[in-house]
Symmetry: C2
Subunit: 119 residues, 2 copies
């Protein structure tokens, strides 16, 4: 989950990246995947199910991202914590795109390193 | 420990890298620091103390690195697990240098990314 792996001479170069905000983790592989699922499903509870994650955990991750972002990433409709729909905002779209860009660059970096290093 | 941190607009770009062998982690920030301390101290037990790590844990980490390396990284003198000295081999020196090179490149990568990304 969120780890990149390449193989060289039987060794694997592994890495993980994430972005921290004022409360700790803000965006990482799992959180960004959750944002994508919320966009697809239109609901936090359906998104949670699709990731085999508890609704409570998905709700807490979403709330944590919203609290640490300058603009809301996910808007929830009436029903609040118990139900209703959820919608990814434009800021949410941008956060997803920005994270995958960083992640892609990170993968490129690991592949480049793999070619240069010998153990 | 082994994490790189930079700050942009209140967000921190974090990352971690390590190298896996056939048994799992082979080299990471903590393990490489242990190798350096063994070199400096000439003993696993003194190296462990300097890192506030138990002797048992330091011995297991050293054994894990030796088992997964093509050549021994650390040679232990008579006395074995219970005592005696420990010496970093040439392969150990090379492993340390190769890891810090990768780590330095990773830090450069994170700093470069920091400048390009906005949240």
């Amino acid at each position: 989950m969120g780890k990149k792996k390449t193989v060289q001479n039987g060794y694997k170069f592994m890495g993980r990246i994430w972005i921290e905000g004022k409360e700790g983790t803000f965006l990482g592989y799992g959180r960004v995947t959750l944002l994508e699922r919320i966009k697809q499903c239109g609901s936090i509870s359906e998104a949670a199910k699709s990731m085999k994650m508890s609704y409570r955990h998905a709700w807490e991750l979403t709330d944590s991202m919203n609290r640490q972002s300058k603009s809301l990433l996910v808007e929830t409709a009436t029903g609040g914590k118990g139900g209703g729909g959820a919608r990814l905002t434009e800021a949410g779209e941008k956060a997803i795109a920005a994270f995958w860009k960083l992640y892609g660059n990170f993968n490129d970096f690991l592949e480049k390193m793999e070619k240069n290093l010998k153990f």
